[in-house]
């Protein structure tokens, strides 16, 4: 996925761009976290990535396809799946399984293939037991998992996650991140994940930080937190385990309590 000097201005925004001069190259199989305060342009970037929005200036390429060419749209939409912040914006089916089938059905796949993909996606998101239920009877967190399952069933090459983990409880949030990591590991899927959560940023291969529509940082997630002032200015509190480890002079970066305890014990 390539952003080449991209700018985007919303209609009615009096010419104030939501994104400006964004140049970013995301490699296949890379897990990129996109950070930034509310209103910094994260959602706009996500919507440019699957051609829901077209750049006002510059170009966006998905798997080599220029998003501004009408002929490329079908190809882009089968390769790029978008998981939105609010699941209710992307749930359409009368039952859980119908909803997950909606995407593959529209790809014109065979009945067997649709069935296989639905089963797999439901299983991955632990929704198999609820497959016959009406989506509005599910809890918010369950609907969120349903939205992710709907995207998974499209077998995308790139997953764009626009704060898809906000409103999930920490275990489900961690599971979603683990799922992203697994998809990258096993299927080489590229993940672009917009988030406010420091521990999710740290789980990524790379972090991009947006401020007022500009890309102000692009590098290793750890570096983002090394610069305390930069992190604080963007509302990024380092995770508690990170603070604990640094206070006690433990180097490196552990995300699990057991690991930190082990390191501390070893450092006696």
């Amino acid at each position: 996925m390539i952003f080449e000097d991209v700018a985007f201005t919303y209609p009615g925004a009096n010419g104030v761009p939501a994104l400006e001069s964004i140049t970013l190259r995301i490699e296949e199989g890379e897990f990129l976290a996109v950070a930034g305060l509310n209103g910094s342009g994260k959602s706009t970037l996500c919507r440019l990535a699957n051609a829901l929005f077209l750049p006002s200036r510059g170009k966006v390429f998905c798997c080599g396809l220029d998003t501004s060419l009408q002929d490329n749209l079908a190809g882009i939409r089968t390769r790029v799946g978008l998981i939105m912040q609010n699941p209710d914006n992307q749930i359409v089916g009368p039952t859980v399984e119908d909803d997950v089938a909606f995407g593959p059905e529209n790809l014109g796949l065979s009945r067997e293939e649709i069935g296989r993909r639905v089963d797999e996606a439901l299983q991955a998101m632990e929704l198999t037991a609820m497959r016959g239920r009406e989506p509005h009877l599910l809890s918010f967190g369950e609907r969120k998992r349903l939205a992710v399952a709907g995207v998974m069933a499209l077998s995308p090459r790139i997953i764009i996650s626009d704060e898809s983990t906000s409103m999930l409880d920490p275990p489900t949030r961690a599971e979603t991140i683990e799922l992203f990591l697994r998809l990258r590991e096993e299927a080489g899927i590229t993940v672009v994940h917009a988030t406010h959560r420091p521990e999710e940023i740290l789980a990524a291969d790379r972090a991009a930080l947006l401020e007022g529509g500009h890309l102000v940082f692009d590098g290793k997630p750890e570096q983002l937190f090394e610069d305390g002032e930069l992190a604080a200015r963007h509302g990024l509190c380092p995770p508690s385990l990170y603070v604990l480890a640094r206070e006690l002079g433990v180097p490196g970066f552990a995300l699990e309590a057991e690991e930190v305890a082990e390191q501390l014990w070893a450092s006696r």
Binding site: L137, K144, M167, P171, S240
Partner: protein, 285 residues
């Protein structure tokens, strides 16, 4: 003063094949002037519970007492609850609907008969409480605001009704740090004014910053309820409910298991670091 639920149950679509019992013989109480954090896995029934507590859903069993008086599950009881209790729903930016911020915030009190200057004062007071300058925001369309600002409008709309109790369903998820800090200031002010606040949250940092007490909902019941420190350090019970304890508390527990003399609780990572450094020094010495 408080809201107390005793033996409360709730079933969606009772008497149909779709019936789903979400709450059963559940006890919880919320006191005036405290912040009670309600935790639990997604889908466990937290939103259902607060809808029952504010009278939007009628309990299918049990007793609800408002300031010592049983309001039961009658129609009148529901009204008494709705008058005393304000609720800020999940994705509260969707709770906003009017053409201007001022009208949106005025909707509730106007429906309760407030008019003219009294109404205007009430609205501006509520806007100021959530950091929305009336001069800058009153005549703007709420739909021209950012999501965080829309949530503040929704909260102002609830506060304009001067609720004695306030239930908030994950108000900080999706908010950035400055947005969360502002929300925390508002909630602290309300607590000082004697409002009883129930806050649904998944965020241990938020719990640490705000909670007086914690209640954990799991499998239809409140399985843990008590002072903050006590619940946070009940690691085995927390894990049984599927919640991951705060990581720093887990580190303390791991090191205690290895024989370091440490207390089970620390209020911050820095405090934990100091305790650990001291304990390791002692164990060396």
């Amino acid at each position: 003063m408080g809201i107390a639920l005793t033996g409360v149950g709730f079933t969606y679509l009772p008497g149909t094949p779709m019936a789903r019992e979400v709450l059963a013989s559940l006890d919880i109480d919320l006191n005036s002037g405290e912040i009670l954090c309600l935790m639990g896995r997604t889908g466990v029934g937290k939103s259902t519970l607060i809808n029952v507590m504010c009278g939007l859903l009628r309990a299918t069993g049990g007793e609800i007492a408002l300031d010592g008086e049983n309001v039961g599950s009658s129609r009148e009881g529901g009204r008494a609850l709705r008058e005393a209790v304000g609720i800020l729903m999940q994705s509260s930016e969707k709770q906003v609907f009017a053409e201007t911020v001022q009208r949106d915030v005025a909707f509730g009190p106007r429906n309760r008969g407030l008019k003219g200057d009294g109404l205007r004062r009430r609205v501006f007071e509520a806007m100021l409480a959530v950091g929305l300058e009336p001069e800058a925001f009153a005549s703007r369309s709420p739909f021209s605001l950012s999501e965080g600002e829309m949530r503040r409008v929704a909260l102002a709309g609830v506060l304009a009704l001067r609720p004695r109790y306030l239930l908030l369903d994950e108000p900080s998820s999706g908010l950035d740090l400055p947005g969360r800090e502002l929300l925390h200031r508002v909630l602290n002010d309300l607590r000082s004014d004697g409002v009883g606040i129930l806050l649904v949250t998944h965020d241990w940092d938020e719990v640490e910053a705000l909670a007086d007490r914690i209640a954990v909902l799991s499998d239809k019941h409140i399985v843990l309820q008590g002072e903050k420190e006590k619940v946070i350090t009940a690691l085995a019970e927390l894990e049984r409910t599927g919640l991951r304890p705060p990581p720093v508390i887990s580190v303390l527990a791991e090191l205690r298991d290895r024989g370091l003399e440490l207390p089970p609780y620390a209020s911050s990572p820095a405090a934990a670091a100091a305790l650990i450094a001291e304990a390791m020094g002692r164990s060396r010495g």
